[in-house]
Amino acid sequence: MAVFTRTTKNLIIKIDEFFDNIDLGILVFREGIKSYLNKDMESFQRHLQKVDTLESNADKLQREIENDMITHSILPQHRAEVAQLIDELDEIIDGVKSTLHEIDIEIPEIPEELNNDIIRLAEASASAAEELVPAARAYFKAPFTVREKLLKVYYFESETDKISFNLKKKIFHESRELDLAHKAHLRYIIHHIENISDLAQKAADLLSGMAIKIVM
């Protein structure tokens, strides 16, 4: 019994640590984008390294959580869904990492007049992902509160869509000094930033179904 209690405790700690990693990853993403836009490359590189570490930790924790659930037969009825949720959350930190790496490799030239819009876009997209984490934590402790927490995820995702739509319109309709290749490149970077909120929405859809199932 002692061994069993210890396994349960360890698994709870690992899941919490995993969520912490996702939370921090989103925070670093937001700061990383700001550093890049402020042309503070030293700070940007630091954030990039931090995201790499967080993503690697999340991967390790994900594997350990899945292993523990299978080998110790924990949550047999919800195991597949919990594993999928962890996977969806891991996709978010993967998305964060790949976006910052794309920026690091491609070094997109962002016109200064678009800085505020890009920051707003990153803020909204990161907020959608950020609001997902407490909802995912609530699934384990108070599943009946999950759906109300998810409302914020859907709100920020739709905000991200609006900002992105306006930003793309601004780039393609108003920024006449930019050539088409530059515009396409900017659209590509915007798409990457926006993708974080889409991943959050995908995870939110899954979490919403899981919460109904467990509350019923």
Binding site: T5, T8, P76, P143
Partner: protein, 415 residues
Amino acid sequence: MTLFFLTSGLFLGWSLGANDASHVFGAAVGSKMVTFRKAAIIASVFFILGAVIQGSGTSQTLGKLGAVNAIGGSFTLSLAAAITIYMMTKFALPISTTQAIVGAIIGWNLFTGNHTDSSTLTKIVASWVAGPIIGGLFAVLLFILVRKFKRSVKIHLIRFESYIKTGLLVVGAFGSYSLGANNIANVMGVFLPAFNLQNLDLGIITLNSSQQLFLLGGLATATGIITYSRKVMHTVGNNILELSSEAAMIVVLAQALVLFIFSSTALSDFFVRMGLPPIPMVPVSSSQVIVGCILGIGLYKGARNINFKILGEIGLAWVASPVISGVLTFFLLFFMKNIFNINVGHRIDVPGVTVVAPVDQVISNTETDMSGIIKYLLMGIMIAGAVAMIYFYLLERKKTMEHRKSEERFWKNLK
């Protein structure tokens, strides 16, 4: 020859283990919360304990219904019940061991011209109806309590599930104990008047004649659990997997409580002391009680599409099982008596007067050999159990070590 006559009872015990005992751990094993090995060991041990410690109450009620006074009669009766169970299972009709054995006893009464005590029969039939209803009520009450507890404490899902997992083992043990106490009468009850074994001294405890028979029946049931219940457990588990893990635990607990209530003489005496009517000691159908529990929770949760087919099948089982079993017993007794010339019992009572424990020269045997056999059987089982435990412990340890090594290798290679 005596042992041969016991075989039909032992076969009935085996089928009880294979079918009815599966309901106790079905949800836990089907949902993979508990491994089959663990479930089978706990169910076997606690079934035997329940049968030996508390099995006499329900057996006395069956004795009142019809005291079979020849071992040939006991054999035929058990055989008829077992054939009925086999046939109805083959045609996928729901069957209860309890109802089959009650029908068989009435068949024996009719054949030998003995009077069937109508008050005992009414008590038994009433408990068949009351069992699922009480089970449903218990299940709903427990469900409300557990839900309120879960909401107020805000316990982590994984911790809660770990408690449920432990709860399933504890409740399963209690369920198996209650099943043993309540249902062993179905297996061995009809043999009790036909056996008079010497007391068996096991050092710590001394087993009387009926307890030795219950022990044998319990061992047959344990064999049924270990050899054949895995498939049934998975089927039961998958059928009620729609229930959450806590609901599954509640269903088993409610079922165990019902079986315990209908087999605890101490509880019945307590009721009498409180000025309440005594609880009838009646073997009830575990499978029907479990359906009552599931329906109770379903109704509480507001399920609109209650499966009336299942209810109809239970109703059919209430009527069909005793009738088929009774008719079959009547014909088998006829063949046994007239073709094989076996003594299947005779009229012992005056109408209206119930003889609880008839004493007959033909059936009172002092089987010293049987006690010896039981003693050696127990020793053998204990040694085999100890060896199996050590073997499985070492096997588990090896598996854990291999898993740990492979994990270490994985992360080393990744670096």
